[in-house]
Symmetry: C2
Subunit: 323 residues, 2 copies
């Protein structure tokens, strides 16, 4: 039985929405997986009681420390070993769970996974966040969605490799079309580091299609969109903001296109973002996760863990980096 | 009478759509301004004839050279003095027209305006493109929308000043709320240059409200959104992409909110972007401008020129830079 560790104190609406999401996830998937809620034991157990849950698919591990959103990532690991976040990843390191999910401090989650689970390849210096994003066509992979800043060109190439493998393993795309996010199609456009990455990618074995602009990203021209974690985070948040504005102005439009849009663009249905290039499944759920978003993130964690996406990505990455 | 120079060969649908846009603009604003179309004379005159235009609000200046989208900006000025783009700005330098509009190579337009018209302040090293963008609330100013890359922190501060003055002069906002586009609200988040700019802006006399994320940008939390020209271009193109996707999926929704959205988010109605910090009005229209977009850009150029927005921005900038 696959077991998922879930940080009970992670996210803007923790612990209530996190507990609620855990209950929803196990109820909708009986017998498939168990959830281990890591958080202040009494509080979490009371939350479960309030929801009337007394099944055995959810267990609680006491982890009383609270991690704030602005705490320094690597300090959290050192100073808050008894936080939900660090406890989750610690259980995973011991093999007691097969995936960890947190909607809390994403830098701390990345740092904890990196330090405790380790890189899939020593040559893969700066693991990124890979995120499936909606487009006008199908879903695409955005990488890095916010783990890094100020990357060198070679790091952007690593992102491209990781994103390509993720799109293959997770979205099932064959030879995914990989593109650099830029301010024009021409090779000589954009920041120096993007121009340098362009030359490296042109000579790689990836299916590199060149630069895409923001409009092409939305139109779905690329399967894998590569950019700095800074830009990726701006892109991701804009996609969310647009969905929210659309819902606020128009609600779900009652046509097939309207339902497809509402389903595909709702960030609560994406199931969180996967840390790429690590030995194991670490999921960063949205900071504003409600119960539905947590439910989806837990289900995604189960699917990732069951199909060993992180391990496959890691293995292929190691092969790429060796070749 | 205000005269607007228009690059007849600029843009993906030139010269037909440019000529059409010019005719629409003068017909809808009889007696207000004249348009000087700069392009291959015979071709432009035939285009006017085809549209049945024989009024005296449009004149033609022969400028046969063609500027490609990937030509190097400063080389265009040197090698293509008889292009529509350079001819427009040359007429403006001589005082024969009061504004120049091009939907062509935006780097070349920026370089030509910079070299021929000059900076409003010598301390203002890298003039940006300011663009009014749609949000869930009112319009905001995005700066830089794509003129620069790899800016230092002090250049981002210049963008903030220019954007703030533009929002004041053009959108009529008092003490516009200025924000840095970033991947989190915290001071210590994001690329080093953004963190450095944060500290500089915190100590400036601008109404600096801190960082905004992509979602806040869409929600309209800031009146002026400051970022690198690279990021700004991605943001601008994504806003266009959203609008296009929405129109493709749903068309204009027949409610007050639907009409407002269609009006506000249609990039063809924005009238192009203004070059900030120059001695004069230089407008960069969208590369994919159709006749409606050109019409709006010409009308915007007239409004900018008549209310001397560029000069006011320039004057205030010079004051800021001296203080």
């Amino acid at each position: 039985m696959i077991r998922i560790a879930l940080d009970a104190l992670g996210g803007d609406y923790a612990p209530d929405m996190v507990i609620d999401g855990a209950v929803r996830a196990v109820k909708a998937n009986e017998g498939k997986f168990q959830v281990v809620l890591c958080g202040p034991k009494t509080e979490v157990e009371e939350g479960l009681k309030k929801l009337g849950y007394n099944g055995d698919a959810i267990s609680v591990v006491d982890a009383p420390d609270f991690v704030a959103m602005d705490e320094h990532p690597t300090e959290v690991l050192r100073k808050k070993p008894n936080s939900g976040l660090v406890t989750c990843v610690g259980l995973q390191k011991k093999g007691l769970v097969q995936a960890s999910v947190s909607a809390g401090n994403s830098g701390a989650m990345m740092a904890s996974c990196l330090m405790l689970l380790g890189r899939s390849s020593e040559n893969f210096a700066r693991p990124p966040i890979g995120c499936a994003i909606p487009t006008g066509k199908n879903r695409a992979v955005l990488v890095d969605a916010g783990a890094n800043v100020d990357e060198k060109a070679s790091v952007l190439v690593d992102f491209a490799i990781a994103g390509s493998v993720f799109a293959e393993c997770y979205l099932g795309y064959e030879k995914p079309k990989v593109a650099l996010l830029n301010m024009g199609e021409e090779e000589k456009k954009g920041p120096a580091v993007i121009q340098e990455a362009y030359q490296l990618l042109k000579n790689s074995s990836l299916n590199f299609i060149g630069n895409v602009e923001g409009r092409d990203l939305i139109a779905g021209e690329a399967d894998v969109v590569v950019c700095s974690g800074y830009t990726g985070n701006v892109v991701l948040k804009m996609l969310e903001g647009f969905y929210e504005l659309h819902q606020e102005l128009f609600g779900t439009i009652d046509t097939p296109a309207g339902h497809r849009f509402a389903q595909m663009w709702d960030y609560r249905s994406t199931g969180g973002a996967l840390l790429l290039g690590l030995n194991g499944t670490g999921i960063i759920a949205h900071g504003r996760s409600d119960a539905k978003a947590i439910e989806q993130a837990v289900i995604a964690a189960y699917q990732y863990a069951e199909s060993k996406v992180a391990e496959k990505v890691g293995q292929k990455l190691a092969e790429y980096k060796q070749s």
